[in-house]
C-alpha cells in the first residue's frame, strides 16, 4: 500500500469521489476517418498475441502501484477495439482481474464499429467479459456516412446493432450532428429515428473540425463547405436536448444522454475526476499515489509504445498534477455533468480555483446555479461551457 503521509488524508483519497477505472487503448483502424483526431493507425498486420502480452504487462505494472483498489470499470477505446481478437480482450481482462479486486457491478465497455465482420466477434467479446458496447454508428444516412469516411452503411449498422443487443446487456451508440449540409429538420428526423432504436444510452456529438484531421486540412483550403454556423449548431444542440428529453433520456453530460442508471460508469470516472489507469499507446491516466496525483501518458506511436513496454514501461511521461491544476481539472470535467461539482471537494484540493467575481457574474447571468454544495452549469450555461469555465477559473 502506498504511504499517505505527504498530504491530508482527504486529499489523498480525493479520487474516491470518482472511483477507479482502467482504460485500454487499441490504436489500430482499418481506415482513418476524416474527422477523427484520436491516436489511430492503419496497420496491415498486427501481432495480436504480442500486443495482448504487452497490454497485460502494463496492467501488471500499474496494478502493483495501485494494489488493493476496487476496479469499477474497464473501457476498450481506440482506434477500433472491435478489431481486437476476443482472445486478446480475454488476456487483457484476465490481467485486470489479477491486478485488482473487481466491483460486483463492474462495467466493461468496448467501442465497436457497426459492421458485420466485427459483429461476428461480439459473442467472443461477451465471453471474455465485455458487458457493454458502444457502437460508432455516427449517422443513419448513407450519403453522410460516406462523407464521414465510414466503411459501413445504415442497414449494416442497424444489423450490427441488433446483434449487439442480442449479445450484450448494455448497448449504446454514437451519432455525429452538425454535419455538412445538414438542416435542423434533417437532424431532428434522424435523431427521432435513432430514438426508436436506442435502448438506454446515446452519445450525440457535434461535428468538430480538429487540427491534424483530413477535415481540418480541407477546411483550411476552403474545401469543407456547408458546415452549420454558430446559430444553426446551437439550434441543433437544443433540438438534441428536446428530442432526447421527450424520450425520457437525461442529458447527464454535455454529449451523453441516458435513462436513469444507464450512464456510462467508466466515463463518469473521468468526469467525476476519479483515478484511471491508462494502458496502451497514447493512453492517458490519472493516478493518486502516496497522496499525490500523477498524470501519465503512454508513447503515441504503436511501435515505440510496444518496444518501451517490453523494456519495462509504456509511459512516455509521468508528471505530478499540482493541487491547483487538480482543481482546474475537476472543474473542466465536472461541469460537463448535469450533477455539477462539489464546491467543498474542490476547495479541499484548491481553495482558490474559482474566481469569485467571475462566479458572481455567471450566477447573475444564469449560466451557473448552486444546488446545496453543488455548482452546476445551467441549461443556458452548458452550450457555452467553454466560456463559462474560462470565466469561472481564477487566473
Amino acid at each position: 500500500m502506498p504511504l499517505r503521509n505527504s498530504w491530508p488524508a482527504a486529499l489523498g483519497e480525493d479520487w474516491r469521489y470518482g472511483g477507479f477505472g482502467l482504460y485500454v487503448h487499441w490504436p489500430f483502424c482499418e481506415a482513418k476517418c476524416p474527422y477523427c483526431d484520436f491516436n489511430s493507425h492503419v496497420a496491415a498486420h498486427v501481432d495480436q498475441e504480442r500486443w495482448a502480452k504487452a497490454l497485460a504487462a502494463e496492467i501488471n505494472r500499474v496494478g502493483a502501484l495501485t494494489e488493493g483498489r476496487v476496479l469499477n470499470s474497464v473501457f476498450f477505446g481506440g482506434g477500433t477495439p472491435s478489431l481486437m481478437e476476443p482472445a486478446t480482450v480475454d488476456t487483457v481482462l484476465k490481467a485486470a482481474q489479477a491486478a485488482w479486486p473487481w466491483a460486483n457491478d463492474i462495467e466493461i465497455s468496448l467501442e465497436a464499429n457497426p459492421r458485420s465482420v466485427e459483429a461476428d466477434r461480439f459473442r467472443g467479446f461477451a465471453d471474455a467479459g465485455v458487458n457493454r458496447v458502444s457502437l460508432g454508428v455516427q449517422s443513419l444516412r448513407d450519403a453522410d456516412l460516406k462523407r464521414l469516411g465510414r466503411l459501413h452503411d445504415a442497414r449494416e449498422a442497424r444489423a450490427a446493432f441488433d446483434t449487439a443487443r442480442a449479445v450484450f446487456d448494455r448497448v449504446s451508440f454514437d451519432l455525429i450532428y452538425a454535419r455538412q449540409d445538414q438542416s435542423l429538420t434533417d437532424w431532428e428526423a434522424e435523431l427521432t429515428e435513432a430514438m426508436q432504436m436506442a435502448v438506454d444510452h446515446l452519445s450525440l456529438y457535434q461535428l468538430t473540425i480538429e487540427p491534424g484531421t483530413a477535415f481540418w486540412d480541407r477546411a483550411q483550403r476552403g474545401r469543407l463547405r456547408g458546415l452549420p454556423g454558430e446559430d444553426l449548431a446551437s439550434d441543433m444542440y437544443q433540438v438534441t436536448q428536446d428530442v432526447t428529453a421527450a424520450h425520457g433520456f437525461s442529458a447527464y453530460e454535455v454529449s451523453n444522454h441516458a435513462k436513469p442508471r444507464a450512464e456510462s460508469r467508466h466515463n463518469l470516472v473521468y468526469w467525476r475526476y476519479g483515478d484511471y489507469a491508462g494502458v496502451g499507446p497514447g493512453a492517458h491516466g490519472r493516478l493518486s499515489l502516496e497522496g499525490r496525483k500523477y498524470a501519465t501518458v503512454g508513447w503515441q506511436a504503436p511501435g515505440k509504445w510496444l518496444a518501451a513496454t517490453e523494456a519495462g514501461s509504456g509511459d512516455e511521461n509521468v508528471e505530478k498534477v499540482p493541487p491547483h491544476e487538480q482543481g482546474i481539472e475537476q472543474i473542466l470535467m465536472g461541469l460537463r455533468l448535469l450533477e455539477g461539482i462539489s464546491v467543498q471537494r474542490l476547495q479541499e484540493v484548491n481553495a482558490g480555483a474559482i474566481d469569485a467575481g467571475g462566479l458572481q457574474e455567471l450566477l447573475d447571468l444564469g449560466f451557473v446555479g448552486m444546488d446545496g454544495d453543488r455548482l452546476i452549469a445551467t441549461e443556458t450555461g452548458r452550450p457555452v461551457l467553454n466560456a463559462v469555465i474560462e470565466k469561472l477559473i481564477a487566473s
Binding site: T208, E230, Y237, V254, G285, I328, P383, A387, V388, E390
Partner: protein
C-alpha cells in the same frame, strides 16, 4: 591636408522609391573601388533593418568616394543619401543645403512621381545643379525620350543630355561619374582660415561611439581635439574623433571647407544635437549661424500602450532609448481609463509613427496597442483662450468652445489617367478641395487642399489600393482652418471607450459612426451576453449596433485523454484574453482599436 575646393563635389540623389537610388549609390561605390567586392552588399547605405525592408532611407547616410576623372585629376565625391519621405522633409532640406548638386534619378519606364517632384523642388530651392539620370533604360518598357520630355515639362529643367543608365547592370555608370565632376559645381566658397562654420546635417547613436554627428564644413577647419560649440543649443564639447565615411568610418585629423564627415564628442543623446544647427569653435567662433535652422515639430499624435500592462516600464525604457536617437519624436505619459498607462507620442508623419512603433515591437519585443492617430486641433474657447488639442479624450466642454480649427495640407498626387476618377472620389470623400488638375502625358497631376486629419490614418493605403499602386503622393502643411468638428465617442456595452474617441466632421459623423459600430461588431468576439455598440456625439447616440450573445461554445468530446489538452487550451484562452482590454465586462481585442477606424471604400 584638406582637399582643394575645386576637387570636391558634394551631391545627393533625388529619386522616388524603387526608381533605383540605392542601387545607383551602390554602383558608384563599387565602380570606384571604394568598397571591395567582397564587402559589397545590396543597399549598402541603408543600415537599419527597417530601412532595408521597406526600401526607404530614414537617416541621412553618406559616403566619400575617391575618383580619378578622365582629365587625370583626383576628385573627392561626397554623396549624401537623404531620406526621401515627406515625413522627413525638413531633414531632406538640411541635407540638400549641405551639398551643391543632385542627381535626379527617374525610372525610364515609370516617369516622374510626386515624391520626386517634392524633393527636386527642395534641391532647386537649395540652388542645386541637377543632372537628370534615366535609370532602367535596359527594360523593354523604358521610354527615355518620353520621360526626358516629361522632366522638362513637369520640372522645367533641361533633360536633353540626361545620363542613360541601368544601375542594375552597371550600364552608363562611368558617364554618371564624369557628369558629377564636369557638370556639378565645386563648393561655392569657403575659407580654411575663417571662423569655423559647420552644418549639423544629421546625427545618430552608436553604441560604441556615442552620438555620431554628420557635418558639412562651410568655413574654417575642424581638427581633432578642438573645443566646439553648438550655436543653437549652446552646448560645448571636445572633438574626440573626426573622419569620413567610405562608407565605413575612417579617421582624419582635420576637415576643411567643402568637406563632409563626422565627429564624435562624448555627446550622450541625439536629442542634444539639432539637425540644421551650426557648429563652431568655442573660442574665436563664428558670430552668426548658418541660416535656415528650425526645430522639428511633430504633427501626428497617437497613444502607445503596452498590451500587457505589466510591460509599461519596459515600454518607457524602449521609448526613452529610441528618443535618444530621434529628436523629432516627442512623448509624454498618458493614462487611459481603458488602456492603463502608456505614452502619447508625437511624430513627423505616419511613416515616422509606423517606423517607431515597429522598432518598439521588434527591437524591444513589446506588443503595443496603438490608438487612433490624431492631429493637433486649435480649440478656441469663448473666453478667448486657444487650446492645442493633441488627444480627443482631452476635449474641453463643448459649451465653452467658440470654434475649432484643424490643420490642412496641400497634397499633390500623380496618377495615370485610368485611376483619376477614383482618386478624385477619394479626395472628395476626405473633405478635399480641388486646387489644380493638369496633365503630363497620360498622367494627371491633381493638387488638393485636404484636412490632415483625413490623411493621417489610412489615406495612403486607400490611395494605393484604388490606384493599384500607380499613384504617388506628397504633401506639405498649409496652416489651420475652421470647420465644423465634433468629438465622437464610442460606447461599448454603455461604457465610453476613450481610446476609440475621434474628431470628425459634423456632416460625416453619422456615416463614420455607423461604419465604426459595424466594424466593432465584427472585431469584438461574442460574449455571454449581448452587447450594444453605439456612437455618440455629446449625449446623443448617432449610430447603434448589437453584438448578439455567444450561443455555442462547448467541447463535444471530453474524456480521460482530454483533460490535459483542455487544460492547455484553457491556459491559451486565458493568455489570449490578456491580449484583450477589458471595458466593463467586455473584452476588446487590441487590433480593434486601429481596425475600427479604417474606412474601406
Amino acid at each position: 591636408m584638406s582637399t582643394p575646393l575645386s576637387h570636391i563635389r558634394n551631391f545627393s540623389i533625388v529619386a522616388h522609391i524603387d526608381h533605383g537610388k540605392s542601387t545607383l549609390a551602390d554602383r558608384l561605390i563599387q565602380s570606384t573601388n571604394t568598397v571591395s567586392d567582397r564587402d559589397m552588399k545590396d543597399q549598402l547605405l541603408d543600415a537599419m533593418d527597417i530601412e532595408r525592408e521597406r526600401g526607404i532611407t530614414i537617416k541621412a547616410n553618406t559616403v566619400r568616394i575617391d575618383y580619378t576623372a578622365q582629365d587625370g585629376e583626383h576628385y573627392v565625391l561626397n554623396l549624401i543619401d537623404t531620406p526621401g519621405h515627406v515625413d522627413f522633409a525638413y531633414e531632406v532640406s538640411r541635407s540638400m543645403r549641405a551639398v551643391e548638386g543632385s542627381l535626379l534619378v527617374v525610372d525610364a519606364s515609370q516617369g516622374v512621381e510626386a515624391q520626386t517632384l517634392a524633393n527636386v523642388y527642395t534641391a532647386i530651392e537649395a540652388d542645386h545643379e541637377i543632372v537628370p539620370v534615366l535609370n532602367k533604360v535596359d527594360l523593354p518598357a523604358a521610354e527615355p525620350e518620353r520621360v526626358a520630355e516629361q522632366i522638362e515639362d513637369v520640372i522645367g529643367i533641361d533633360a536633353s543630355d540626361a545620363c542613360l543608365i541601368s544601375a542594375k547592370t552597371g550600364l552608363g555608370i562611368p558617364d554618371v561619374l564624369e557628369a558629377i565632376v564636369n557638370r556639378l559645381p565645386p563648393p561655392h566658397e569657403g575659407d580654411p582660415d575663417a571662423p569655423l562654420k559647420a552644418m549639423l546635417v544629421d546625427s545618430w547613436y552608436d553604441p560604441y561611439l556615442g552620438v555620431v554627428v554628420l557635418i558639412r564644413i562651410m568655413d574654417g577647419t575642424l581638427k581633432k581635439g578642438d573645443q566646439i560649440k553648438m550655436m543653437q543649443t549652446g552646448a560645448k564639447y571636445g572633438v574626440d574623433r573626426l573622419g569620413v565615411f567610405r562608407p565605413a568610418m575612417e579617421a582624419k585629423d582635420e576637415l576643411g571647407p567643402g568637406e563632409i564627415g563626422f565627429l564624435t564628442a562624448s555627446i550622450k543623446q541625439v536629442r542634444d544635437t539639432r539637425v540644421g544647427d551650426t557648429i563652431t569653435h568655442e573660442k574665436k567662433g563664428a558670430e552668426t549661424p548658418l541660416p535656415g535652422f528650425k526645430p522639428s515639430q511633430p504633427v501626428v499624435f497617437c497613444g502607445l500602450f503596452p498590451v500587457d500592462s505589466s510591460e509599461f516600464e519596459d515600454l518607457r525604457d524602449a521609448i526613452e532609448k529610441l528618443a535618444l536617437n530621434d529628436a523629432s519624436f516627442s512623448f509624454e505619459m498618458e493614462t487611459s481609463a481603458a488602456l492603463g498607462f502608456g505614452f502619447r507620442c508625437g511624430f513627423l508623419g505616419l511613416l515616422h509613427l509606423e517606423v517607431v512603433r515597429d522598432r518598439i515591437e521588434r527591437e524591444y519585443n513589446i506588443d503595443l496597442i496603438t490608438t487612433a492617430p490624431s492631429v493637433i486641433y486649435h480649440v478656441f474657447m469663448k473666453d478667448g483662450a486657444m487650446i492645442e488639442l493633441h488627444n480627443p479624450a482631452d476635449m474641453p466642454d463643448p459649451s465653452k468652445i467658440d470654434h475649432i480649427e484643424e490643420p490642412r495640407i496641400k497634397a499633390t498626387i500623380l496618377v495615370p489617367d485610368d485611376f483619376l476618377g477614383d482618386v478624385l472620389k477619394l479626395c472628395q470623400d476626405r473633405r478635399g478641395i480641388q486646387l489644380d488638375l493638369t496633365y503630363a502625358g497620360t498622367r494627371a497631376m491633381v493638387v488638393y487642399d485636404l484636412p490632415l486629419n483625413e490623411v493621417v490614418f489610412d489615406f495612403y493605403d486607400r490611395l494605393k489600393s484604388v490606384t493599384k499602386g500607380y499613384a504617388s503622393f506628397d504633401y506639405q502643411m498649409e496652416g489651420y482652418r475652421e470647420d465644423s468638428l465634433v468629438k465622437m465617442q464610442i460606447l461599448v456595452n454603455d461604457e465610453p471607450v476613450d481610446a476609440l474617441s475621434t474628431m470628425v466632421h459634423r456632416d460625416r459623423a453619422e456615416m463614420r459612426g455607423r461604419a465604426m459600430c459595424e466594424k466593432l461588431k465584427d472585431l469584438i468576439p461574442r460574449h455571454m451576453f449581448k452587447i450594444p455598440i453605439q456612437a455618440a456625439i455629446g449625449g446623443k447616440v448617432i449610430a447603434r449596433e448589437t453584438l448578439s450573445a455567444l450561443r455555442k461554445d462547448v467541447t463535444a468530446k471530453c474524456y480521460g485523454g482530454d483533460a490535459t489538452r483542455k487544460k492547455k487550451l484553457l491556459e491559451k484562452q486565458k493568455a489570449g484574453k490578456k491580449k484583450m482590454r477589458q471595458f466593463g465586462r467586455v473584452d476588446i481585442p487590441q487590433e480593434a482599436f486601429i481596425s475600427a477606424l479604417k474606412m474601406d471604400g
